[in-house]
């Protein structure tokens, strides 16, 4: 941290000097003092139980934040019990822990103005804590109970299940939610990431399932901690060792093998009817994972195509033609599993097909010709110069470090990121577009009022209409 502070001082001094010059500079040609930015490091220690911990002390605020990342995820739940992981994630905190009833835990935590929260996503589980420094020890105790000793109170399980069912009942209220969900299902069809909780699957989940699911994955040898804020290092490590105990006998948790989603690209047109004045449009297909060396070229491609306010999609669909407020595209680079490419917009009913065709045309364009020097430079400059915004708070610095280890990124990922971005050439962007962008093989989801579309959707191919009432609990 100290070298970091020193680097900053140079900036002030130069800034002060340059302000003596009285002129107002031209934004197009302005020159700036050099800013030496070093990626802030977090300390990695290993607890007696073998758990890695990333630490970054920062005393600006009298607050401590902590996150445990657990190797677990909905990909490990049986399809017939889809919803098990997210229910387990919610109930860690919601269902009481360490013999303390949930109401009592709520009362104690909120009286201290502390928070402990838990959840399980597709390929990661997290339990997090935030607290004033003075209440850290007690909050840590509750945190560790939630993480390791949840009680899964039956009443709370029932409430959670009813809430999820009510959510399912409401899942078609917002057209944007319908389109996003259906696109995800279409892209990941046949893979656990494409499975969906339904009334039936959620109804099948019982307490024993959650106890087992938790017991299998939530073990000290299967998690990483990230801690930041106003702590004292030695007492903190002592406390953590007391909470998490000594060396673990049983060795590493063996995670089930989950295959990658099948690399199948086939156009599919999906329509859902909603009587609205604006159509929701989502299109996409499988993308790539972080282990692919092309991710840097794809990042540049992403920025130029639909990742910024001056991207091709925004420029044409929004700025030039006024067809949409929101238009964007994004390669979500998969960390464990193949990620996605998704393009999205919403446009008035009468310009639905026009907007779809325009977007597809813009995307085809990316696969045909090289981007311009100006586009390439703008993308590279942004990514390199804004890199430091990934490190603006101690909490984001430690959780980022922990996440990189969790997903097994190369050790020099952050340190080499800017160089690799700087090394991307126009040829690389074109090659990446040709390889990873398939505008004629999209899964396309359209939600709207087809009777008022500018052209029938069937102009684009054969359409499968969804029955939105199918998965609605009676």
């Amino acid at each position: 941290m100290k070298t970091f502070v020193i680097a900053l001082i140079t900036v002030f001094s130069i800034l002060t000097c340059s302000s003596v010059e009285a002129a107002q500079a031209n934004p197009r040609t302005m020159k700036f003092p050099v800013l030496s930015f070093q990626i802030p490091a977090a300390e990695r220690v290993v607890l007696e139980c073998g758990m890695p911990v990333y630490l970054l002390r920062d005393t600006e605020l009298p607050i401590i934040n902590m996150t445990a990342m657990v190797r677990v995820g909905s990909v490990y739940e049986p399809a017939a019990k889809a919803g098990l992981a997210s229910m387990t994630g919610a109930l860690l905190r919601f269902g009481g822990a360490g013999g303390m009833a949930s109401e009592k835990m709520d009362d104690e935590l909120e009286f201290m103005a502390s928070a402990v929260e838990s959840s399980i996503g597709g390929d990661m589980g997290t339990v997090s804590l935030t607290t004033l420094k003075k209440n850290f020890s007690r909050t840590l105790q509750i945190f560790s109970d939630v993480l390791l000793h949840p009680d899964f109170d039956q009443k709370r399980i029932d409430i959670t299940r009813r809430q999820i069912i009510e959510g399912l009942r409401r899942q078609n209220d917002d057209p944007k939610e319908i389109a996003g969900r259906e696109l995800g299902k279409a892209i990941y069809a046949g893979h656990p990431l494409g499975s969906e909780a339904t009334f039936d699957t959620v109804s099948r989940v019982v307490r024993r399932d959650m106890v087992e699911f938790h017991g299998r994955y939530f073990r000290p040898e299967n998690m990483i901690l990230a801690i930041s804020g106003d702590f004292e290092r030695a007492p903190l490590i002592r406390e953590l060792n007391e909470v998490f105990g000594g060396p673990v006998e049983n060795g590493a948790v063996v995670l089930p093998e989950i295959p990658q989603p099948p690399q199948q690209f086939k156009q599919e047109l999906i329509f859902a009817k909603k009587e609205v004045t604006q159509t929701v449009i989502r299109m996409g297909h499988l993308g790539l994972t972080k282990d692919n060396p092309d991710i840097y070229a794809v990042r540049i491609l992403d920025y130029i195509l639909g990742g910024s306010f001056t991207s091709r999609l925004t420029m044409e669909v929004r700025t030039n033609q006024g067809l949409a407020y929101n238009v964007a595209s994004h390669f979500d680079i998969g960390r464990r599993f193949t990620g996605t490419f998704v393009a999205e917009t919403e446009t008035k009913t009468e310009s639905t097909v026009k907007a779809i065709q325009l977007m597809q045309e813009i995307m085809r364009g990316m696969t045909k010709e090289m981007v311009s020097d100006q586009e390439l430079n703008a993308a590279r400059d942004y990514m390199i110069n804004s890199f430091m915004f990934g490190f603006t708070s101690p909490a984001s610095i430690v959780t980022q470090r922990a996440r990189l280890e969790y997903y097994g990124y190369p050790a020099d990922f952050l340190e080499t990121y800017r160089e690799r971005i700087a090394g991307v050439k126009k040829e690389d962007v074109l090659a990446a577009a040709k390889k990873y962008l398939k505008p004629d093989l999209f899964k396309l989801v359209v939600v709207g009022d087809a009777a008022k579309f500018d052209k029938p959707l069937s102009t684009l191919g054969s359409v499968r209409e969804l029955d939105l009432t199918l998965n609605i609990p009676r």
Binding site: F12, N26, L35
Partner: protein
């Protein structure tokens, strides 16, 4: 390290050692001669800085024929200046004038509706499109964005509310001068080019944010029904026909009337040297002439004299929103309402959560907030989804029962203490990000008259007693002061 830096270094380390300085100690306040207010905070956690400019003008300041202009103008102010966003302003300018003349003619023909001349309309539309195409040859699209981005700027954005309009960006700290150069140019030389295309974008924004989303549509209708006289009732984005009738002429007029340095509050938070920033701000903004003082909003909402009920029939599950009129920020009772908000909602120990979500399981969640602005008397709002098979009317009764309980049963001392503990944590937390702190400084300086609202807040809340809560509940949570909105599912019954 060279000795030159050493003094500065010592200062930084020393101030770092001053444990957890309060906000009061951290904010440097400075007003330029033209009235522009600067609020500066040094934070050296990362070499970044957030710069926010708040103009004391929002949709509440619009006349009835300008509804939506504050927001559309906010969009337009991203389009450049006489030197940025254009290849040749001298050549572009006459085209922009022709575009405006044609658009005005087109709109007045459209206003005749069925009596309008169809041939003339189509000719005007063609001429407008062709002029726009000609003008676009001179445009450098979104050049502000392009320049900020290539310099590493992130979060370049703006938002308009009833109460005000804010422009924000975060930059690497060595590039703050870029912000001063662009923003001072924008304030003096903005050119509202591409106006009519952007107006279409805003119509899409309206469809997306309000028309296609039943809950937002209900919300918009409820607010409009709550304020018959006061402009808080009108949606900031404007009704669709309002937007259709906005012109560049109106937007320019609005810009000239309100965007003056004396109506601006700037917060710069991050890795800065406050003295250098004051000098820089003076250099770039100091020469701008102050504008006229803002005319006050004269409309006053008459006291509501009976419950108002709004039903929206929609292709969506039932929901209920309930609002009660209440005073503006700074009124003594407003602090009592804040305590009531925290007693009733937004936490796992709140009454709505414990009673309605956990015990009765009648709702999936209950939100409590005040809206649609703070400068003027507003609403305390409860928003909830009933859990099937429970109905809107059961949920409504359950909410009202909790309000009755506030009137008769004094709130426990422990509940009040929990709120104060929460505020202690929040006071620390909100200093943790440049953007968050800049947001709060500009917002409270604008709506509460001073950012010190934040530093006084806990002391004010400390004074709120259980008896105050009972008094306020009795006075405001009445049938005649209530507005209720609910969604009935299409084909379902109104229950």
């Amino acid at each position: 390290m060279k000795p030159l830096w050493l003094t500065a270094l010592c200062i930084v380390i020393f101030s770092g050692a001053l444990h957890a300085a309060t906000l009061e100690e951290k904010v440097v306040e400075h007003t330029l001669k033209n009235g522009m207010k600067l609020l500066l905070v040094e934070r050296h956690t990362s070499p970044t800085v957030s710069a926010w400019i708040r103009f004391r003008v929002g949709s509440v300041d619009e006349r009835s024929d300008e509804r939506g202009i504050a927001h559309l103008l906010e969009h337009m102010l991203f389009k450049g200046t006489t030197t940025l966003g254009t290849r040749d302003y001298a050549a572009e300018k006459p085209l922009l004038e022709k575009i405006e003349a044609t658009a005005l003619e087109l709109m007045s023909e459209k206003a005749k509706r069925e009596k309008g001349d169809k041939v003339k309309l189509s000719e005007l539309e063609k001429r407008l499109a062709s002029l726009e195409a000609d003008a676009s040859k001179y445009v450098i699209k979104d050049e502000f964005f392009e320049i900020y981005s290539k310099n590493g700027g992130t979060g370049y954005n703006a938002f308009t509310s009833r109460d005000g309009t804010t422009y924000l960006i975060s930059l690497p700290s060595n590039k703050l001068e870029l912000w001063a150069a662009i923003e001072s140019d924008r304030l003096q030389n903005a050119v509202l080019r591409e106006f009519y295309t952007e107006r279409s974008v805003v119509m899409e924004e309206r469809r997306r944010s309000y028309e296609a989303d039943p809950e937002s549509k209900l919300w918009e209708t409820l607010v409009a029904s709550s304020f018959l006289t006061h402009p808080y009732g009108q949606p900031t984005i404007g009704w669709m026909s309002d937007i259709e009738n906005l012109t560049r002429t109106k937007a320019e007029q609005f810009f000239r009337s309100y965007y003056a340095p004396n109506n601006a509050i700037v917060a710069i938070v991050g890795d800065i040297d406050t003295k250098a920033v004051i000098a820089m701000a003076d250099r770039y903004f100091g020469g701008i002439k102050p504008g006229k003082a803002l005319p006050p909003v004269s409309a006053e909402e008459p006291k509501q004299a009976g419950e108002r009920r709004i039903e929206l029939i929609a292709d969506a599950e039932p929901t209920v929103i309930m609002g009660f009129h209440k005073p503006a920020i700074l009124a003594e009772d407003d602090y009592v309402f804040d305590v009531i908000t925290m007693i009733l909602g937004n936490s796992r120990t709140s009454r709505f959560y414990k009673e309605l979500v956990i015990k009765k399981q009648i709702a999936t969640d209950v939100g409590v907030f005040d809206a649609p602005g703070s400068r003027f008397p507003n609403l305390l709002v409860f928003s909830a989804n009933p859990r099937t098979p429970h109905t809107v009317s059961e949920l409504e009764s359950a909410i009202l029962a909790e309000l009755e309980r506030l009137k008769v049963e004094p709130v426990a001392e422990r509940d009040l203490q929990r709120i104060l503990n929460k505020l202690e944590y929040e006071e620390a937390r909100r200093m943790g990000t440049n953007g968050g702190l800049a947001r709060n400084l500009t917002e409270y300086e604008a709506v509460a008259g001073s950012w010190r609202y934040m530093t006084d807040y806990r002391r004010k809340v400390e004074k709120v007693t259980a008896a105050d809560i009972q008094r306020v509940a009795r006075e405001y949570f009445t049938r005649e002061n209530r507005v209720v909105g609910f969604i009935t599912k299409k084909g379902g019954d109104s229950k």
